[in-house]
């Protein structure tokens, strides 16, 4: 993902809230400290399909905004 970001593509990493700090650290390590991190509610594992859809619904607006911002 870091490599894609460095090449100028629209990128984001979706992570659940306990993993935000890890994600921020890794973004710095890989040289893309501004890599967008879209945070969803924990957990993702073990969710029924409806729960997964709810997580996806929460993550979609920020992803759409990223794409819109990039295309301006």
């Amino acid at each position: 993902m870091a490599e894609l970001r460095k090449r100028g593509l629209v990128t984001a990493v979706i992570c659940s809230d306990p993993f935000l700090t890890l994600g921020q650290n890794q973004a710095r390590v890989f040289g893309v400290p501004d890599l967008p991190l879209v945070v969803i509610q924990h957990p993702l594992g073990g969710l029924a399909l409806e729960g997964v859809k709810a997580r996806a619904a929460a993550a979609t607006p920020p992803l759409v905004n990223l794409i819109k911002a990039h295309s301006r």
């Binding site: 306990p18 993993f19 700090t21 890890l22 650290n25 890794q26 390590v29 073990g46």
Partner: protein, 371 residues
């Protein structure tokens, strides 16, 4: 070789501290370094003494440790070895262990950052194990030997301080494990009826190696009654059959540690190590119905689709996919016990061999000592 004092003048290479045990330890705690236990202050003199057993440039990285991908230079490793309480002559093995676990197939990033409770297990083989008095007998996984305790701890300190495996931000293990303090043993080659692990993995007996596996803590296998190879192996295989193991979902390499007594019974039954592996692979299984409905539908029928997509609940689910992948080591003292160490799953065991810079196998750590 660049002088140590010169290296320490580089920005960030050293910190000033009061020459006092408690003050240094307070500094270490305040900086978020270490494993929570007190450390030996890594003074310039102590670090220099540690580096006496290093035949490489002290400032050139031997590896980059995930998840921070911090550069593991001999200088940094030496500071961590001092903090852990190592003798200087342990240092070549610390360098080798770190290099080995940073090889790609081991998948150190995942081992460090996962929610699983694995830790890099280091099994030492060859003459250096005896030279450094690494315990392979009674209580080999427990306390009592400086080399096991401090060398294992130095590895952990490097994983923390250089690799950034900080609990909650670099190491996301749900529980952690006591093996994350120190996890280093030697194989009890003298008591093994089979070829040592490093010979099995392609190295000459006179070479010294470390084999790293991303393993859980040992789980005991009590068998005081079996008098046959099949009996002992049946009990071990039965212990391996657990529904909550990561290994179910991967072509994994779990570790079976046999006590010398169990190993002898198995070997006297005419089993080679490979025979024992085949038996364990064939018998370590449990019926599909032992898994939860959700795990069957969402994972097993997906991960192993060709095998379980339409399988009945009595279909066997194998804990190990390939017999040769089971790592068997003979470790421990007297007693009718073995141990099973499941793994992270998405990791391959790697063996590194102790070599001097000229590429020759080192027969002794003294070959690393600078004249």
């Amino acid at each position: 070789m660049t002088a140590l004092a010169e290296l320490l003048r580089a920005p960030g290479a050293s910190v000033e501290a009061e020459d006092d045990f408690d003050a240094v330890n307070e500094l270490v705690r305040a900086r978020g370094w270490g494993d929570g236990l007190p450390v030996v202050p890594p003074t310039e003199d102590r670090v220099r003494e540690m580096l006496a057993y290093c035949d490489r440039p002290w400032h050139e990285p031997v590896a980059e440790i995930a998840p921070r991908y911090g550069e593991a230079t001999p200088l940094r490793l030496a500071a961590n070895a001092v903090m852990a309480g190592c003798e200087s002559r342990y240092f070549p093995l610390l360098v080798l262990a770190i290099e080995t676990m940073c090889e790609e197939p081991f998948n150190l990033y995942a081992i460090q950052a996962t929610t699983h409770l694995c830790a890099p297990l280091v099994i030492v083989n060859g003459p250096v194990a005896q030279e450094l008095n690494i315990n392979s007998g009674h209580n080999a996984f427990g306390p009592g030997h400086r080399s096991n305790a401090t060398l294992g701890r130095a590895i952990r300190l490097a994983l923390l301080n250089i690799g950034g495996a900080t609990p909650g931000s670099g190491d996301m293990s749900t529980f952690g494990a006591p093996s994350k303090y120190s996890y280093l043993v030697a194989e009890n080659e003298a008591a093994s009826p089979w070829e040592p692990l490093h010979v099995e993995r392609g190295f000459p007996a006179e070479a010294s190696t470390v084999t790293v596996a991303g393993a859980e803590c040992p789980h005991n296998v009590n068998d005081h009654e079996s008098l046959t190879a099949e009996g002992i192996l049946t009990t071990i295989a039965g212990t391996m059959g657990i529904a909550g193991s990561n290994d179910v979902y991967y072509a994994a390499q779990p570790v079976v540690v046999m006590s010398p007594e169990h190993a002898r019974t198995v070997a006297e039954g005419g089993f080679s190590k490979m025979d024992a592996k085949r038996f364990l692979q064939q018998h370590a299984h449990l019926p599909l119905g032992k898994f939860s409905r959700e795990n069957i539908e969402r994972r097993l029928r997906v991960t192993w689709q060709e095998r379980y997509a339409n399988a009945a609940t009595d279909a066997p689910v194998f804990l190990v996919q390939n017999a040769q992948d089971i790592i068997i080591a003979v470790i421990g003292g007297a007693g009718k016990h073995s141990a099973y160490l499941p793994t992270f799953g998405a990791t391959r065991a790697v063996t590194g061999v102790l070599k001097r810079r000229n590429g020759k196998y080192a027969r002794s750590v003294e070959e690393f000592r600078k004249a």
